[in-house]
Symmetry: C2
Subunit: 403 residues, 2 copies
Amino acid sequence: MPTASLTTLYASRADGITGSVIDASTSLLQRQTHDIVRMAMGSPAREAIPSAIFGDLLAELSADCSSVFDYGPTEGDRELRRALLDFLPLHGTRVDPDELLVTSGGMQGLDLVCKLFVDPGDLVTVEAPTYTNGAATISGYEGRMVEIPGDADGMDIDALACVADDEGPPKLIYTIPTFQNPAGTTLSLDRRERLVELAEGWGAVVLEDDPYGLLRFEGEPLPTLRELGAGRVRVIGVRTFSKILAPGLRVGWLEAEPEIVARMIDARQAMDTCTSPPMQRLVARFLARGHLDDHLVALRGEYRRRKAALQEALADELAGLGATWTNPHGGFFLWLDLPPEIETEALFPLALEEGVAFIPGPAFSIGGRFSNALRLAFSAEPPERAREGVRRLARAIQRLRSA
Amino acid sequence: MPTASLTTLYASRADGITGSVIDASTSLLQRQTHDIVRMAMGSPAREAIPSAIFGDLLAELSADCSSVFDYGPTEGDRELRRALLDFLPLHGTRVDPDELLVTSGGMQGLDLVCKLFVDPGDLVTVEAPTYTNGAATISGYEGRMVEIPGDADGMDIDALACVADDEGPPKLIYTIPTFQNPAGTTLSLDRRERLVELAEGWGAVVLEDDPYGLLRFEGEPLPTLRELGAGRVRVIGVRTFSKILAPGLRVGWLEAEPEIVARMIDARQAMDTCTSPPMQRLVARFLARGHLDDHLVALRGEYRRRKAALQEALADELAGLGATWTNPHGGFFLWLDLPPEIETEALFPLALEEGVAFIPGPAFSIGGRFSNALRLAFSAEPPERAREGVRRLARAIQRLRSA
């Protein structure tokens, strides 16, 4: 019965938002009928979904229904695997065919890693803050989580080393090193190297959750932990098309040693058999026709603009309050720290009333930390809407302060 | 690390087919370049995939890309839920909205039930023979499985009662009561009632795996265990569009008490977030336009013909050998018992050489029973091909006997 998830994670905190913070936020959000600036969820820009190309590819698929609607191979559609094996090296990743597994979104990649490597009581380090559903998955397999704090350069590796001194070496290190969810920060090269060294010394498995890596819009690319750890550490890279193409595809992939991939294929057969072949084929042809590179260029430009607009608005509206925020070089999210007395869970319903949604900081911590912080997604809304969202947020903060 | 699956189930049997029987069969099968009559896997007739309607619906979806390719609700696409809630009552099933969960195929339904209800060491009864991946899922959660034999009327309920006397009441009863996979048999009404009574007395959960229930082509409909157990027993009905529409959709559904559905929604958020919305929407519109009823009528007729042809061929080619077989009233499979000295795992490679594929009996038993039995799927191949397949099977048996 390993199915804790968010509800359990947050069950101990009675804060007016019942159940999990994100569930409650989503459910409250869905009940709103007035205009809301959507900065809560990590949805890509709707305008960025390549509808015209998808339309053509769907029409193509319809000519080929009988084969593509049958069961597909558990390891992934052959066309998609081939397209990925061609695409990835152009983006600095060398993957052998038997190191590649197609998954039903990145979320399933996290689930598979935990299914294989997390037994009840196993020590797993997570970042603070961390991705809520990642922590929920680890919790579901009854891993014993310890939070590692971070700063603008990502996870604090000294703190990671200290945990091992205190509690013994972790079995699994869960990290989102690049354009972290929710903080927006990126683990520096030096820290990446130290993390890999520590993991090597401990024999720990590293779960590199990387949904945003291809969405760098500033700064220099860094090697992935999987590249740095090659031949030394078992790093499993979990990737997805959800953020770079469309979440509704439910197609992701995972890079790991062949022995791990083989075990995961076995596990998948008792989970969901395979990822929807028509959706895989759609992605395969998008890649094979060379659309993804152009698409990524367009996305990076758009998200750079959206982030800049959000930061500008924050400077205009919230800097005076003593708010500070991170400076992501890619991805979807920015982390906002408000003055200590501002409880973002109390702020949330007021913000909804004003017409803006975010996720309160405590949703991203197994210890319920970050009470005065929140995550803002700049991905879903265009610049002018983000500015309006921040104005609404500022009004909600004023109301909370004068309450 | 609960990820036993087939490899573990069969690891103890060194029989020339390494790994699991089904994996090995599939992999051997994929390496064949000559013509093979496909009676191994439970694939629907390719000719039965409604390509023209799917083509139209895919074209419609392409006009609506931006919304349908975003994340969808974990409980299922609204259109699909509405269509199912309209469709199911016409087929004798009353379901409230909060009793319904859309899943990524029936397999995920099995996984969710086991995730919630199977803890290491829990007693779970399975049928002998049973669905391989169902047993693999239970094994993955480290359930302690006990096999319950059956006959032409399905599971032997006296044997079920005996198990409880010997080992205490089971926590979960896993059954495929209707057109069973692999046996093709159907649990009689009397046994259904007794099963529900026993489960009620024990407080056991019943997992009613029902991929084929809508494909009855002979005999009178029977109430599902979920209907019989309503208000008395926690019966979870796991259903799928894989067999009645197309496996590649990866869309199924599950019927359970609201409290169970709510917990499963939580679990899904840490598993795969949601089922692909475009595939759900395709199914929704197929249902909403009333296509499924016509389609089911056509499928039933076709599968009735295919079964009859297979049985005729078996009577012509194998009755003389002392072979016997079941008489399914629906579904995809028929179970063939050969004389005791014929080991179907040894027969398998010879049959492939002759150009016919099946699954050897031991693949369907956690104890490796049924060494002289095999499963034949009559779903995938048209009548004349089934006849040719049986002729090839007869030749393989002759070769094995004279070896």
